[in-house]
């Protein structure tokens, strides 16, 4: 009981922290820590499942979940009810944080893959690789880069639920004007397209920041990385010759006005989703959800999808998506594991494909492309796509990369020096 009180206290205090910022200007939304349904009677079991399928008004996903998938699971598992609670994506992390503090988490969470190490480190998740006898079998079926997002300090804390990755998306009219019939496939062709666009009012490329999500496709394709494989050091890895060359290429393009200032965090720059169809930008890196966004706003726009331009390291993109995790406070572990198994089934995986969720099961790739031909490039890119650092401080790493590399783009510091400074700061995180 004492622990419960302390948890509630912490939740209240965290809420108070958020509220400190509000007396003059309203407050950021604080998630209510109350989790429903955790006191189900022994016989009929109710599993609570939090996620953000309905985010951004995308009712299609939640409808399939509520009306098709969950009823199918309940039909085959008598006495088990699954209660899905939709939380807007922007609120979910805060709601999970306060609920973890109050020890009122649901049984299952569809967690952004970047959150898994953080919550695993807090001790609120069950390592599935310890409790599922068939874990290895399920894990082997998934894309390796996607599975890796569940890994933290020797154990797997979840299974991939859905995935996505970034590919190169080009504006066909701009390509045609530059005399190209195909998007740039290599770093050299990418730079050449930039040169061809010089003097026009079209920029070669745009992105929304310098975090790992933005940079890793370039760094990996350029043959570099942020840390060594064992996550022990960043110095000597992040400031490698390969990364200096890759970053120098981007900085040179930026200096020549070929990359939008959105990449250094200018919120006033024309956004990628607007600038590409409008012809401000020739190319962007983005995910499968963009077709949905453009379908409404720019119905005539026909984007061209192609793999990330290949560098010395090949064409390697970054994995995104969500994992399903089981919380340590769940009172119905067996039933929850059954639901996790269900999410890995062909039925579950393919049902959501038409709504823009890519399957995490390698063997279903072909069927996925049959269902939605536009996902071909994404499915292929996922074969080599990698996960970001499996550490709890992912958001700190993003902050460091943005802070240290922005001056390099602005030309006030050399690329190598910027990378060395960033590496030294990331080293400190790896030690801690």
């Amino acid at each position: 009981m004492k622990r419960y009180i302390r948890g509630t206290a912490a939740a209240l205090a965290t809420a108070a922290l958020a509220v400190t910022g509000c007396s003059a200007g309203g407050s950021p939304t604080t998630g209510s820590p109350a989790g429903p349904g955790s006191m189900a009677p022994a016989e009929p079991i109710t599993l609570t499942f939090w996620g953000s399928y309905g985010n951004g008004g995308n009712s299609a996903q939640q409808e399939i979940l509520d009306n098709t998938l969950i009823p199918a699971f309940e039909a085959s598992h008598a006495g088990v009810t699954v209660e899905y609670v939709d939380v807007p994506y922007d609120d979910l992390l805060q709601k999970l944080t306060t609920s973890a503090a109050a020890e009122e988490l649901p049984d299952l969470v569809r967690a952004d893959l970047g959150w898994v190490p953080r919550f695993a480190d807090l001790g609120v998740l069950v390592p599935l690789s310890d409790v599922m006898p068939d874990f290895q079998q399920l894990a082997d079926a998934t894309f390796p880069g996607v599975l890796a997002t569940n890994y933290f300090e020797g154990k797997y804390y979840g299974l991939p639920l859905d995935t996505n990755t970034r590919v190169l998306i080009s504006n066909p009219d701009v390509l045609a004007k530059a005399g190209l019939d195909a998007p740039p496939a290599t770093f050299d062709e990418f730079v050449a397209l930039g040169n061809a666009l010089k003097g026009s009012d079209v920029s070669l490329f745009a992105d929304g920041g310098l975090g790992a999500w933005n940079l890793m496709p370039w760094i990996w394709s350029g043959g570099g990385d942020i840390t060594d494989a064992e996550l022990t050091t960043s110095s000597g890895v992040l400031d490698s010759d390969a990364n200096v060359a890759t970053l120098q290429m981007l900085v040179d393009l930026y200096t020549a006005g070929q990359i939008s200032s959105g990449i250094i965090g200018n919120e006033g720059a024309v956004s990628t989703s607007e600038g590409l169809p409008n012809g401000n930008y020739a190319t962007i890196l983005d995910g499968p959800w963009m077709s949905g966004i453009w379908g409404d706003q720019f119905p005539d726009f026909e984007p061209v999808y192609s793999p990330v331009p290949a560098g010395p390291g090949g064409s390697v993109s970054v994995v995104g998506g969500e994992d399903i995790v089981l919380t340590a406070s769940s009172k119905h572990q067996e039933a929850a594991l059954e639901f996790i198994r269900f999410t890995q089934s062909e039925e579950f995986q393919l049902a959501l494909v038409p709504t823009g969720q890519l399957t995490v099961i390698q063997a279903l790739g072909d069927k996925q492309v049959e269902l939605v031909p536009g996902l071909k490039v994404f499915t292929e890119q996922l074969g080599t796509a990698k996960n970001r650092l499996a550490i709890t401080q992912g958001s700190e790493v993003d902050g460091i990369l943005n802070e240290e590399l922005t001056p390099a783009f602005e030309g006030t510091i050399g690329v190598r020096e910027a990378l060395t400074k960033a590496a030294a700061r990331i080293d400190e995180l790896l030690v801690g």
Binding site: A10, G25, Q94, A100, G123, G265, N402, E403, T406
Partner: protein, 320 residues
């Protein structure tokens, strides 16, 4: 004068009544009743405000683990020392101070000017009062997004400055640099706040004694002299109140920064509360976030006390 607080003798009709109903029971009931009425509100206040504040204060001395079962390491003053040696904290502090100074003075000057204009007789006066007050009641989220579009690279401000007024080349990336970003954020703060100070000043102007104003006119005082010698002293209390509230508000700036620049680029437009929020909820570093929150509270408290002293009435009382 009618709007002076009633003097103590008038406020207490009690003695005569009390003497009639002698006996301890009455006294106990009489003194307990107001407290009983206050109790529910105070309990809510204690639970929802006081307790979390105390808890946040405690957290600031720990490497706080949010999960109850984990042990948090006691760090003493380490989180505070970390803030003092943290360059980003000082950047955020500088930006917050800039915002406070850049928004408070215009809000007072413009608010007072508008109040003086709308105090006099004019047609459509209620309409103008409503129009000036409208920004105050609109949502911070909505107007922050509107201002982000206004100050965008291809936004209206660049168009007006470049294409219409020809004072710049129209290519300013307002939100891509520290000070231009802070100017844009401050512009929103001023626009949204003028109506509020106007309303307070309008109320205060009602209390300027007409007799004194008349006497000053008969003595041949011009409008400026009347303003300085009669109006300003009469609204001194309101001036103090507005200043203190605006300083508190200035140090609490959060939503506009969060939505207009997100603290970027590279954290250069971060203010204290966005930095605190990112530490606590972004990095789950609740101990450090709490320490920053405590520091902000101390700064605001100190500034408020200094101002209370500055605006102390000549006869020694504080402004209300």
């Amino acid at each position: 004068m009618r709007n002076h607080p009633p003097s103590p003798e008038f406020r207490e009709p009690a003695p005569a009544v009390a003497s009639r109903a002698s006996g301890r029971a009455w006294i106990r009931r009489g003194s307990a009743t107001p407290h009983l009425f206050l109790l529910p509100g105070f309990a809510l206040f204690a639970l929802a405000i006081l307790y979390p504040i105390a808890q946040a204060f405690r957290m600031s001395f720990y490497d706080w683990k949010i999960v109850g079962s984990a042990t948090s390491e006691f760090l003493g003053l380490e989180n505070y020392l970390r803030a003092l040696g943290d360059d980003k904290f000082w950047v955020a502090f500088g930006n917050t101070a800039f915002y406070a100074v850049a928004t408070i003075v215009p809000q007072i000057v413009l608010g007072l000017a508008v109040a003086l204009l709308l105090h006099g007789r004019a047609p459509a006066r209620p309409l103008f009062r409503v129009l000036y007050y409208l920004p105050v009641v609109t949502s911070w989220v909505v107007v922050s997004l509107v201002f982000r579009f206004l100050f965008a690279d291809q936004g209206l401000i660049n168009y007006l400055l470049g294409e219409v007024a020809h004072v710049t080349d129209g290519q300013t990336s307002w939100l891509a640099d520290r000070w231009t970003g802070m100017i844009a954020i401050s512009a929103l703060g001023i626009w949204k706040g003028v109506g509020w100070s106007m309303m307070i000043f309008l109320a205060a102007l009602q209390g300027v004694p007409a007799a004194l104003m008349e006497a000053a006119m008969i003595d041949g005082a011009g409008p400026w002299q009347r303003f300085r010698a009669v109006t300003l002293p009469a609204i001194r209390a309101a001036l103090g109140f507005v200043t203190i509230m605006l300083v508190i508000g200035g140090f609490n700036v959060f939503i506009s920064v969060y939505l207009m620049t997100a603290g970027g680029p590279a954290g250069r437009t971060e203010v204290l509360l966005t930095y605190m929020y990112n530490q606590a909820f972004g990095n789950l570093d609740f101990g450090y976030g709490s320490a920053i929150a405590v520091i902000v509270t101390l700064i605001v408290l100190a500034l408020s006390l200094i101002q209370l002293r500055m605006f102390r009435n000549p006869d020694g009382g504080y402004v209300e």
